[in-house]
Symmetry: C2
Subunit: 561 residues, 2 copies
């Protein structure tokens, strides 16, 4: 390398800043001591009334107004772009900015609709944000690695081709942690993304840029990736909806990534949005485009409307949900427990059954995941980082290059032989087999004649914690190993008056005790509270439908109270 890596990183960051239209730069930004900036976009004066109305619309209304030409794509794209730039100034959520290119495409789409009277596709005119690793031809995907700066992608990711054919406009790329293998968002190039509801807290990761951006309504649909919770953790921490689809349901081909070739517990792409309609529109549009004709790892499974109508779940009547209160290793903080309790109450009020889900070997599952990813992770990270000389990050704590121990789960385990990796993978297969049998056997407990329809699970043991303190992704990772589809639903926000510490005398472990001690309501105040609805492998349609049921139950129950 000819240049110091810090110089290269700083130049890239300066270039990013220069790409923001001057008139969208805000001089009166709130001071860092202002923690909750969620209302700032509406009040800062940069957005017109109409732009506020557009960016706060439900996804269904947006799509229908775009398809009918009631709002032009230029209007909608401009509104979201401005709001995204506000979000950037508040939370540092973006990586790549390309206003002219996005608006030029919006003009084309508007002309097409005018000329033909027909929308280009189901996502006509809609701006969509993409996690940095999702390649757009002609734009960089440095993924927070200094060594990858300066290389424009020479192709679109398959997903980008599909989204563009569906009429969508990729309009910004969003921030990530170096390696993507952290549940927070910080790297040496773009820096740290913070939580719009409380900037002293993390936005989560690795799709943390998406979480902050979508939460601030700077994007109607964002695309993240999830290998161990990387869509769901930012969704939960930032209060958006977010789906982790099964392996291969959404095409991944053509993205950059860490640990390429690790195909045993792979990363998947999935959407974040402010409503479930956004999630559904995205998945249906992508699956209807037959992604298996463009990505060999995409599963040949059409969108199944019968499954969406819950044919395998009693047509959606009298469902039985099971709540995972804790994983047998750590008990969640009071706000998370209140979230689960709220959902239980709402589901019972809506006439569904709710039972408890007892965890099966979750700790073994965590270990197996770590063994598989760790088998070659260190070599992978070092190989890329050494090209520029930048250090591999060992903590997400905010101090400059702090020398502290990495958390247990995110430091790669020791490199092993391929044969040893196969033994871990065999263990994984056996755990999946056991879990499937276990789920099927719940038929005896549901009273519906069916096994449990979906699990309601915490997304983390806590709401968004302070930067550097998100040291576990256990409550999400477990479903990655099992390859279960899971959809995050926001439930409430931490209220320091209500979410007081709950006394406990017994603990699963020292870690559990430490976690309990670490809770204090002031720290977490205003952080979103969420749950995830967990279904079976390749059951995206049913998981979306059951999530709608849960979400509607929550909304009705809020209306009641």
């Amino acid at each position: 390398m000819s240049q110091d890596w810090t110089v290269v990183a700083a130049a890239k960051k300066a270039k990013q800043q220069a790409l923001i239209p001057k008139e969208w730069l805000l001089s009166d930004l709130p001071p860092q001591s202002t923690l909750d900036v969620s209302e700032f976009p509406d009040t800062c004066g940069l957005l017109t009334e109409e732009e506020i109305r557009i960016t706060k619309s439900a996804t269904g209304a947006l799509l229908s107004n775009l398809a009918k030409g009631e709002w032009s794509s230029v209007q909608v794209t401009t509104a979201f772009y401005k709001r995204a730039i506000i979000a950037q100034q508040l939370t540092n959520c973006l990586t790549e900015i390309f206003v002219e290119r996005a608006l030029a495409r919006a003009v084309e789409l508007d002309e097409h609709l005018k000329e033909t009277g027909k929308p280009v596709g189901p996502l006509h005119g809609l701006p969509i944000s993409l996690k940095d690793q999702i390649n757009i031809k002609g734009i960089e995907s440095c993924m927070g690695y200094v060594s990858w700066i300066g290389k424009d992608a020479d192709h679109n990711a398959v997903l980008v081709d599909i989204l563009e054919s569906a009429g969508a406009i990729p309009f910004v790329k969003t921030n990530i942690p170096q390696t993507l293998m952290w549940p927070e968002t910080f790297n040496h190039v773009f820096g740290r993304t913070c939580n719009p509801y409380n900037r002293s807290l993390t936005s989560g990761g690795s799709s943390g840029g998406e979480g902050a951006l979508v939460a601030l309504r700077g994007s109607p649909i964002g695309v993240g990736s999830d290998i161990g919770g990387s869509v769901r953790i930012p969704s939960a921490f930032c209060g958006t909806y977010g789906l982790r689809p099964s392996y291969g349901r959404v095409p991944y081909a053509g993205c950059v990534n860490s640990m390429e070739g690790q195909d045993s517990i792979p990363s998947v792409l999935g959407p974040l949005s402010n409503d479930i309609a956004g999630i559904k529109s995205f998945v249906k549009a992508v699956v209807d485009a037959k992604p298996w004709l463009k990505d060999p790892l995409a599963v040949r499974k059409r969108w199944n409307e019968e499954e969406y109508n819950l044919v395998d779940h009693g047509n959606g009547k009298d469902l039985c949900f099971a709540i995972l209160w804790d994983d047998g290793d750590t008990v969640p903080h009071p706000p998370v427990l209140r979230g689960l309790e709220t959902v239980k109450k709402a589901l019972l009020a809506a006439g569904h059954n709710v039972i408890d889900w007892k965890p099966l070997k979750h700790v073994e599952i965590y270990r197996t995941l770590r063994d598989i990813w760790g088998a070659g992770a260190e070599e992978d990270y070092n190989t890329v980082a050494m090209l520029s000389g930048e250090p591999v990050i060992s903590t997400m704590l905010p101090e400059e290059q702090p020398v502290v121990a990495a958390s247990e789960w995110f430091r790669p385990s020791e490199s092993v032989s391929a044969y040893q990796l196969w033994q871990y993978q065999k263990k994984k297969r056996d755990l999946r087999q056991e879990y499937l049998r276990y789920w099927e056997e719940t038929t005896a407990a549901t009273g519906t004649g069916r096994p449990v329809d979906a699990i309601i699970s915490p997304v983390a043991a806590y709401a968004a914690p302070p930067h550097g303190m998100n040291k576990s992704a256990n409550y999400t990772m477990v479903w990655n190993l099992l390859d279960y589809a899971a959809l995050v639903i926001p439930v409430s926000k931490v209220n320091q008056a209500i979410d007081v510490p709950r006394p406990r005398n017994e603990f699963y472990s020292d870690a559990d005790r430490l976690l309990w001690q670490s809770y204090n309501p002031e720290t977490y105040n205003n952080a979103p509270i969420a749950i995830q609805v967990v279904g079976r492998t390749l059951e995206e349609e049913a998981v979306i439908a059951m999530s709608e049921i849960v979400d509607n139950a929550l909304k009705s129950s809020k209306g009641d109270s």
Copy 2:
């Protein structure tokens, strides 16, 4: 180990022999010099006229007569069992024999039909043979490893549960090579399986027992496994139909296997039969049983009747097939080329389009497969073999423990690190991506407005070769890496008068020249000639339907000539 492994192996073999009912032992077996024993079951006198009629019935007729009770399951199972025992005495195709157990189940099924008037399921009363590795509770699955002798399986494989629920009767298990990673069939416990059309030739492998058994009509449907051709090679060499489904379409859970945990290019289970109806009945029955509720790796994809009706292939009119004449590495022997020519003529006569398929990077694909499997194979084989002290087999040549070099492809490559394995797996992903794009781009050449509908490919560069001489599985392995569904169709038999050597002056390589020199018509006389119809990943329905079209075209064209 307390006992010499050869003693343990011999005891197991003697026990097997003792399980054959005395009255089914033939005293007048043809001498070893009689090569073609394919007609012997009909003429040996052990089978009644009706048993001959039953065992020579089309699968459709068998299933319908069983469902209507016109033939009892006891009749049908007895007929196939007797014929399987004849096949065993001719070709050494069986491992586990359990006559009483199978007939007891047949009695139950007959009673059920009598009492309820309804068949138990779509395979009611049908005996089905299983490759040795497919666990049946209470029966051994030693898989040719001495160290695994004496352990009854404590569970059914998921497939066995499904087949039994569908009314089928697993009735024999069939022979395999040690490790399963050879395209021939020999192990230290059960010995060698030979080809019923010419016993000096191999039955192929690793499902070689199934190939010989089904070819002799000792089983109406057999189940093999295919990691690199192990269903298709025996099907082709023995003249049966055989399907390699995509990863996860047929549940594999609960089988024993080699290289467990190697889940990048995994083995799949697939059926062999004497007609395509047998293949279809099996796949539809298995998929309709929702295997994803029993095996977490089974794909949630229902049997799709629209895809069977070729909705993605112009509804089956004016298809465009592409013929792979050679792989750019070795040119097939004259009988194989005649097979391809015959298919081309038949398809043209039936009104379809036929173009050439130019291979894309097949040699790189072979190398990548070998690298991935080889990454931990040697450790895997040694670990199991060392338990009994039996040697890991290094050749399929018939001499007793010959010390010769293993063929290039079947000797494991050097063990590597997990990180290195990931690099191979990344290469694999890239090759799959390139091949998919390449296939899609054939739209320009087909004249149908669609890409090529299916590839017609050799199954091997030769018909069944002499024992120990099947040194490549290239023409099948390529489709395993790509995960394409492929169905083998018998076309003809080697005729030493017609299939004379074809002069060649140019060769791809020394290996190609050696292969060309190795052909002489007398050696291969009477060996079956076959092709495979290759479709896309998870396109089993369409591949079955297109194979019916190819098969019908061949039958019509034979009728014409």
